[in-house]
């Protein structure tokens, strides 16, 4: 992918999320406070760094954007008022809108269907599937 396409992608992500990646000064507070930060690859601050460097495609191809639980702790404590949850949501939208689901509603475990509150199903499908 050309650097021009990549920079267009970054602009698209910025527009969709309403966030400016240049606001981030890479303190890492979002990564430090992320409840799933150990497992998120790249973690939030790295993900924003990729966008600052124009490497949007790399982020879209990553696993990290699918690990976010939208708890919004990152944005609440960000000293520069950047909301990474919105950026991750925008990245996911770009992929989901290309019809590439990450969670398949047809293969949900029966027992789970009995147990887990439907709130979780709707949220999960809305975040992770087409």
């Amino acid at each position: 992918m050309s650097s021009q396409d990549n920079s267009q992608l970054v602009s698209q992500i910025e527009e969709l999320s309403g966030q400016r990646v240049s606001d981030c000064y890479q303190c890492g507070c979002c990564t430090a406070g992320c409840p799933v930060g150990e497992l998120m690859d790249p973690p939030p601050s790295r993900a924003i760094r990729l966008l600052q460097l124009g490497r949007a495609q790399e982020l879209l191809a990553s696993e990290g954007i699918w690990v976010c639980a939208s708890c919004l702790v990152c944005g609440t404590r960000c000293p520069r008022n950047v909301d990474y949850a919105k950026i991750a949501e925008a990245c996911r939208a770009l992929i989901l809108r290309a019809k590439r689901s990450q969670v398949d509603p047809d293969v949900v475990d029966d027992q789970d269907l009995q147990d887990v509150p439907q709130q979780a199903f709707i949220a999960s499908f809305r975040k992770f599937s087409v």
Partner: protein
Amino acid sequence: MKRRIGVFVCHCGINIAGVVKVPELVERAKNIPGVVTALDYVYCCSDPGQRLIRETIQKERLEGIVVACCSPNLHEATFRKAAAEAGLNPYLCEIANIREQCSWVTSDRDAATEKAEGIVRTMVAKVSHDQPLVRLGVPIVKRALVVGAGIAGIQAALDIANAGYEVVLVEKEPSIGGHMAQLSETFPTLDCSQCILTPKTVEAGRHPKIRLLTYSEVAEVSGFVGNFRVKIRQKPRYVDLDACTGCGICLEKCPVRVESVFDRNLTRRRAIYRLFPQAVPNKVVIDAQHCRQLQGKKCGVCAKVCPAQAIRYDDQERIVEEEVGAIVLATGYELFDSRRLGAYGLGVVPDVIDSLAFERILSASGPFAGEVRRPSDGRVPKRVVFVQCAGSRDSNQGVPYCSKICCMYTAKHALLYRHRVHDGEAVVCYIDVRTPGKGFEEFYRRATDEGVQYLRGKVSKIFRRGDRVVVWAADTLAGKKLEIEADMVVLASAVVPNPDGVALARRLKIPVDGWGFLSEAHPKLRPVETLTAGFFLCGCGQGPKDIPETVAQASGAAAKVLAMFGQSELYHEPVTAVVDEEICVGCGNCERTCAYEAVRVDPHRGKAVVQAVMCEGCGACSVACPAGAINLKNFTKQSLTEMVDV
């Protein structure tokens, strides 16, 4: 008869000439009625430029000049002086600001030239009406008031006093020394803070030229530069300062114990107390809020045991009045209350403390006599995490600016901790390490060389797990979230201006920035003056700074005061308001409008009277007067009308 007016257009290199078409402007200026000559020069402020102006004034017998150049803030004084040297009254020289107000803010050359002509026309109209004025001479009271007796205020007071002038040094705490008295050792040399401070406090305390007023606050300032009247409120100390010998017997016998603010609540002091053993003055004070006797209960123990009979339960607040010519504000700082950073657990998670508390722990006169122990259980912590930027550089929950001193004192904290706990692990979580000072980078290197671990990442959360403190941090260089279990956490809380200092500045109408730091008159060239004549500033009340910088700034402020005291009298700008008593009906609008208390309605005659030396020439009264009875000299209504009608 029209005045003979000359116009001088400055190129200011390309600052003006790069945008405004100077030759065209000169030609247009020549056509303005009254203008007998118009010239241009590449740098009018240079010696040859000034010479050109002087010679032209004399050759053309000019009766008024307009210099079209940069802001009058910069060179009005230069050109008025040149005019005066050529025999023209300096108030008949006006500046047309075609740089800041034209060339710098316009890119279209034609439009810029058009606008520049308009500005020049306006000033020609003004100078046609200007009257020759003479500066007002004002006598100076050669005594200074210094507000705040931390290291900044002490240094300023000593410098002024050692030059032979009297100083009134006011401190709101019961003794002097400020925050420096709380510190353990100082970076980057690790000398003991108390040891280098006490010679200064002792000298200030017994200096024959310094009147020390502790436990006191400035209540009111009136008057003007060179002639201030100050009312100082002395809080009741309930102890006779002359009688008290500082023997300390009362300190042992008082039955009340309250948390010591000086020790950041890590120890308890008595209701009668002194801040620390080397206090100046070494006299006790009674905390009325907690004293049993003063709260109406039965006690009186201190009075019974005092061998000097110095206790005065009936002590009252006193107002001390002083006359001074200059005021130095050294109102200092406080630490940002990091309890506001809810995720950091300060005040609720045990063994999370702020940096001043850690200074007390490190201090030989602190809660553990200099041994590093945890406040919760007195155990020696084996791993301490130092959290930098607790509130600093945080536009969300803290303050947006860098507090400047934390990188260095955190390196010092980590180093001192390692010196005292040899098998202890010191971890510093930082965003950037900033070491722009003499010996600072070397000191930081020393900390890393001696085993302090630096992790680049801002801490997000601090919480309790059993009897340990867990820190959620990050290593942004490795791109990883980290969980660190520690025994103690020290927050490098942001530096904020002392709130009492901010309140005082607001009362005195001294400008402060958005965070309450005192604003200097010019950020580069007038760093120790305020915009209000006669008020000077130094120390952390102006912005975060370390001890050497504070001391240097304090001496700078003192030098400014001394430069003023070295003059026989002060001069005041003559552009002041004048009342036409024929028209004035004494309604008092002007008096209510004036920010400088320079206009009063004489109650007997019912006429407004302007005290010229207090008038700053802002013109507000002139606008407020319904009868049009007040005019500002050289800004008369007629003059203003013609200035806008060009």
